[in-house]
Symmetry: C2
Subunit: 289 residues, 2 copies
């Protein structure tokens, strides 16, 4: 049978009938149907199709060990947040995007340690508890934290300026499910705009900024892992995050304090900033065979 605009989609979907992995087959058939619908709806010219191929190629060529332009593309199209939202667990802290900067392992650190290795910024203490959905503290939960500095840069963006692991830490909660680390208040920042995704934002009149936030991945045995952010309340761009990641429940007060005794207790000097960010982990879903 001839390949026509009408028969094309079934012909391609049918070509996947020999796929052993049933999940892969279902995903590819769905991809084919939605991708063909998009093409039939927009009717791209050959030149537009070539431009799209060129764009995707440029996105791929921009990816290296410290830059993930396809994650950025997924982010600015809202796909990353959509995937995380779909995978969010009822009753737990809300998921949001992983982002492109979780590319190096966070160094293991002790509770109370500083992740601000340069120690040139105004001190900030972030603490909280990891809890289950009933409010029971979860000891020995793992918390992976990463953030940019006060200028809006991650360590991997400034090799030679920031030491590797700056702004990153892997912590384990104490017997009360508590965690605490010292840092600086992160800045809002633009996502990298020197690549094809930056050109896309420019062509569409969109700004590249993200509101200030600290990334968290929290996990504990028997519970669903959550990938989320603590957003800094009052930060610019909370209403127009370039990657659509803000959820109201994740906006966190970062409170300034002059209390010297409290500062001493937390291992910093006044004035300092303090944020409390508790994380609730939903139970692992029942496995249905």
């Amino acid at each position: 049978m001839d390949f026509t605009v009408e028969t094309a989609t079934d012909a391609v979907a049918e070509s996947f009938r020999g796929t052993e992995d049933r999940r892969l087959r279902a995903v590819l058939e769905s991809l084919t149907r939605h991708l063909h619908s998009f093409v039939r709806e927009t009717e791209p010219t050959t030149q537009e199709w070539e431009a799209a191929i060129g764009f995707l190629t440029a996105v791929g060529h921009k990816c290296d060990d410290t830059r993930q332009e396809f994650v950025l593309l997924s982010d600015v199209l809202g796909v990353s947040t959509l995937v995380e939202t779909i995978n969010g667990a009822e009753g737990g802290t809300e998921n949001t995007v992983l982002g492109p900067f979780h590319m190096t392992d966070s160094p293991r650190r002790a509770l109370g340690d500083s992740i601000d290795l340069l120690a040139t910024g105004r001190p900030c203490v972030v603490s909280g508890q990891v809890l289950d959905a009933d409010g029971t503290p979860l000891p020995a939960a793992e918390i992976d934290v990463w953030q940019c500095d006060e200028e809006g840069f991650y360590d991997v963006q400034q090799p030679g300026v920031q030491p590797p692991g700056n702004g990153r830490g892997l912590f384990r909660t104490d017997d009360e499910g508590g965690y605490r680390f010292r840092t600086v208040v992160p800045s809002h920042y633009p996502i990298p705009t020197d690549g094809p995704v930056g050109r896309l934002l420019e062509a569409t009149g969109r700004h590249p900024y993200r509101p200030a936030h600290i990334h968290f991945i929290a996990s504990a045995d028997g519970h669903r892992t959550v990938t989320t952010h603590a957003f800094v309340a009052g930060s610019p761009y909370l209403d127009s995050d370039a990657v659509f990641a803000v959820k109201r429940g994740l906006i966190t007060d970062f409170t300034e304090s002059d209390d010297e005794r409290e500062a001493e207790r937390l291992g910093v000097s006044a004035p300092f900033t303090h944020a409390r960010f508790d994380i609730v982990l939903a139970p692992e879903p029942e496995v249905t065979p």
Copy 2:
């Protein structure tokens, strides 16, 4: 408003409202809606999303000056043929895929020249006319031709073995709209399988073969350019082209001949093969303001 599975698509589509180029805005809004529908339907896990990002990145990294893996991906998903079919003109020779090997300029050649620079194969003469939709010959039409050799390889795949420009030529039709060149009969061949698209085909139990064909782009002033193939009748894989490019009207007889006088007239020696492939160009569409 919070970003939810329900509000996500409108939020992202709305973010393109400032796009000056109306066509770009429409394409991005449509892309957003279809891409989000695909994600909502398949509900990928975070690990699956990461695998998809990894796949696209590998496709990008495989692209270089002589390899276009995103074109291959578009081809095996039937998107390339779909785009060409949508852009095909009623009444003209049918369009089909450009393919990934139209990456170097074809050398200008005189009618009757050979594009088989190695001259080691069995000679084949391809000739035909370029006509308008009424059957009137089109003199001075441009014909860009490229093909693989008898082993199934294009020049760019075998640097050092095939000279650049082997199997390629740019011809201009004579006063009767005629063209003629010497070559070898191309072989069926597998699309390149040493990259991520090859792994996709393997995982889905699909073979990578294309039936034997010669690529043509034909253009003439006042007419729509056609990107097409002459498929070799009787070639394996005409029923299961890996890139879904076969259309019955493009299947062409390549006839063997022992006629020594005819051979001499065509500038080859008997036995030889002859194919006649006429190309009809539809008129340029009226420009609607």
